[in-house]
Symmetry: C2
DNA sequence: ACTGTATTTCTAGAAAAATAGAAATATGGA
DNA sequence: TCCATATTTCTATTTTTCTAGAAATACAGT
């Protein structure tokens, strides 16, 4: 991930309505929700929501697909992951134990070390 | 973490200079760096850097301590973790396998499920 | 083709944030 | 105490972002 992409993603999330939208979609999963339902649930005016959805989409944090008259929005988990990785890159000079960051653990996921795989580096 | 705290943290990171500062400090580790060295390395005017450091500090992403005439800044890994957790809360209706997010992998750390003997499929 | 619904784009005014110069504050050393 | 260094606070200007009304577009059903 490039720096400008990370700034775009963070800017997109750094706004109350958009953070609400993103977290709603993250919790919903890949099936997503039509714009109208998002607007209704979060009580955001349609043009305002559309503006925010565009920001999130351009930032690579949500995806859009059409279903009839509705546009369905869903979280982009890959984009989310890319952002997390960018923020924690070279964490503690490469010692993950020093800054262990557990994420996405509703029950039992945890950050652990795995056998090093060969990385293409330059 | 409250929503306003998350927005504050994301706003703090959603700016090129501050993102540079934060990632520099994340890579440096807990010993941190004096403001002057950060300014020098990233080529940011002192008042501007001071403004940005204050933002990051109020957002709970970095910590400050004094050492003689210098003010030393270091990443706040707990604050960082809190933000990650907030963003991934209730991820995919509690199914981490659906949105596995690897973080903090300078070489080889990855997010995995700890006891995946019983996989909850749906 | 016409109608209604879903959503976006256009627009402009209001609010918030970034920048850097000048001045102020805090510390350590002579 | 006086000076130099490190950093911050004050200030004003410029730039960016948020918001929602009005108009436009896309689609499905009749």
């Amino acid at each position: 991930m490039e720096k400008t992409d990370a700034v775009a993603a963070l800017s997109a999330l750094a706004q109350e309505s958009r953070l609400d939208v993103f977290r709603l979609l993250v919790s919903i999963g890949r099936e997503g929700l039509p714009a109208g339902q998002i607007a209704e649930r979060l009580e955001i005016a349609a043009p305002t929501l559309s503006f925010h959805l565009t920001q999130l989409r351009h930032a690579g944090l949500i995806q859009m697909r059409r279903d009839g008259r509705s546009l369905i929005y869903a979280a982009d988990y890959d984009g989310m992951t890319g952002l997390m990785e960018y923020l924690t890159e070279n964490c503690c000079n490469g010692d993950p134990a020093a800054c262990r960051i557990p994420v996405c653990e509703p029950q039992s996921a945890t950050l652990v070390r795995r056998k090093p795989r060969r990385t293409i580096r330059q």
